[in-house]
């Protein structure tokens, strides 16, 4: 799965609903009717922080993602972008 461009601004698709769960969160896209999940709470924090962060990299930093984990988080966000859960935001 290609990672997203961490240096751009992203946001959840407006038709996506997020539901926190003990293991992380569930995401549901009302447009594509697809379900996805976030496997940990930190990823949830990143996703929630996208809206107010100038770039995805900043959202990761705000959620205390260690630099060594950035590629992994980038890939997870990439998977979400490829299923239209995330969309690029024009800052």
């Amino acid at each position: 799965m290609p990672a997203i461009d961490l240096d751009r601004a992203w946001d959840l698709h407006p038709q996506v609903s997020v539901r926190p769960e003990p293991f992380g969160a569930l995401l549901y896209h009302f447009g594509t009717r697809k379900l996805s999940f976030l496997k940990d709470r930190r990823l949830l924090e990143v996703v929630r922080g996208l809206r107010d962060a100038p770039t995805a990299r900043d959202a990761c930093a705000a959620a205390d993602v260690p630099a060594s984990d950035l590629p992994r988080y980038g890939a997870a966000l990439g998977a979400l972008a490829s299923s239209s859960m995330l969309v690029e935001r024009t800052p």
């Binding site: 609903s17 769960e21 009302f30 379900l35 996805s36 998977a79």
Partner: protein
């Protein structure tokens, strides 16, 4: 269970979604809500034995209170069914109420109320999906199970939806012995109307128990269906209902998990909460939405659901090499065919279920019956045995009684 959405979940990481779901969730993903037992049809295999409305059904206000709860629990969408949900006079009101409260609606219908006007209204709402039921790709095969005229009704509804610009609504088919050879034809119908085909498994639930023996696919047909499903991948939805077929080898797309009480459940028309839509029986009754604490409390605290979320041991299936893929199959299918819940599915592709089915008592005694029956009383006519009448003489009368109009002066005279 019906997790069409979940079946498309990307595996974002090494964790399998199914492992997270086995222990249950704070709220269901797919909730089935049957709004009424009333139905204009009398399908031979109706899983909820529907026909007549139940006088205890939830009122409009009670239904709205349930929707409020679902919104608070962040249930993404509900699968509304019945009965025929659109025959409830407040159906459209409840539909609008749910979508306005961020609860998406996918509803199943035989199409009877899907007029061009309704179709336009549905197409305009992004949070509504429609599922048209059709169990034969020809009127002969469909109407034999769903009743005369039901094929035409369904196709007219599909035409109306397509004309209104509704995209990707569902054509929902219960797979039977008679329609397995029609899979390509179903796909062609779906494609013609811009719909997506959804295939589900015939369960011996409700009136389905009465026809299951003659309608469930043969072993050879199960293999045929499995190959067909593999060839079509996730372009054909299955509501995850054929996970028992995964024991043929490769897993089908989907969770391949019995979601009962873990990710799915049923709210029936009177507010009773069951572990799954195919298990309307006291054994699987977790509570009622009218009780204090409402639906959320039933979902989170019922002993029945807590038990279903425990790790399952596999019982008689534990030693089978395919247990990891099929997980012992469908609980409801086992229950209503009288098989032990910790053993093989009646349609186990390894043939273990067939042996158990053959060993059941001839008179089917001991097989659980569904808890309720709302079938129409007159239609379809129940099979009737001839009534044997014996003609004879009454011992206390040696001849016919005398009519009051008899003119013979000797009428009734007895000489002993």
């Amino acid at each position: 269970m019906t997790t069409d959405a979940a079946s498309q979940a990307p595996q974002t990481t090494g964790t399998r979604l199914v492992d997270l779901f086995e222990h249950g969730l704070d709220a269901p993903i797919c909730l089935t809500w049957e709004l009424t037992y009333a139905c204009n049809l009398s399908c031979a295999h109706c899983l909820s034995s529907s026909g007549r409305r139940d006088p205890r059904e939830l009122s409009t206000d009670e239904a709205k209170a349930v929707i409020d709860e679902l919104e608070a629990m962040q249930v993404f969408y509900v699968n509304i069914g019945g009965g025929e949900p659109t025959v409830r006079s407040d159906f459209w009101e409840l539909l609008d109420y749910a979508t306005a409260h961020h609860v998406g609606v996918k509803f199943s219908t035989n199409g009877v109320r899907i007029t061009p006007e309704v179709a336009r209204r549905l197409a305009a709402n992004d949070y509504v999906d429609v599922q048209i039921s059709l169990d034969g790709a020809t009127p002969e095969v469909n109407d034999a199970v769903r009743g005369a005229g039901s094929y035409d009704t369904a196709l007219r509804a599909m035409r109306n939806l397509a004309d209104a610009g509704m995209k990707n609504f569902k054509l929902s088919v219960v797979c039977t012995r008679h329609n397995i050879p029609q899979m390509d034809a179903f796909k062609a119908i779906a494609d013609e109307y811009g719909a997506q085909l959804r295939l589900t498994r015939l369960r011996p639930s409700g009136r389905g128990a009465d026809v299951w023996d003659e309608l469930h696919p043969t072993q050879a047909q199960q293999r045929e269906l499995y190959d067909w499903l593999l060839a079509h991948g996730d372009r054909v939805l299955t509501g995850d209902s054929f996970f028992h077929l995964s024991a043929y080898g490769q897993s089908l797309p989907g969770l391949n998990l019995c979601g009962a009480g873990r990710v799915v459940c049923l709210i029936d028309p009177v507010g009773d909460v069951y572990a799954c839509p195919f298990a309307i029986h006291d054994e699987f009754l977790a509570g009622n939405v009218r009780e204090p604490g409402g639906f959320a409390r039933v979902w989170r605290e019922s002993d029945l659901f807590a038990g279903l979320r425990e790790p399952q041991t596999g019982g008689a299936c534990a030693s089978c090499g395919f247990y990891d893929t099929c997980k012992g199959g469908c609980m409801a299918a086992k229950f209503f065919t009288g098989l032990p819940l910790d053993g093989p599915d009646p349609e186990c592709v390894q043939g273990h279920g067939e042996k158990l089915l053959a060993g059941r008592p001839e008179d089917r005694s001991g097989i659980p019956k569904p808890s309720g029956d709302h079938s129409h009383r007159t239609s379809p006519p129940r099979p009737r045995e001839p009534v044997l009448v014996q003609l004879g003489r009454r011992a206390d009368m040696d001849r016919p009684p005398v009519s009051a109009c008899e003119e013979n002066p000797l009428a009734g005279l007895r000489i002993t």
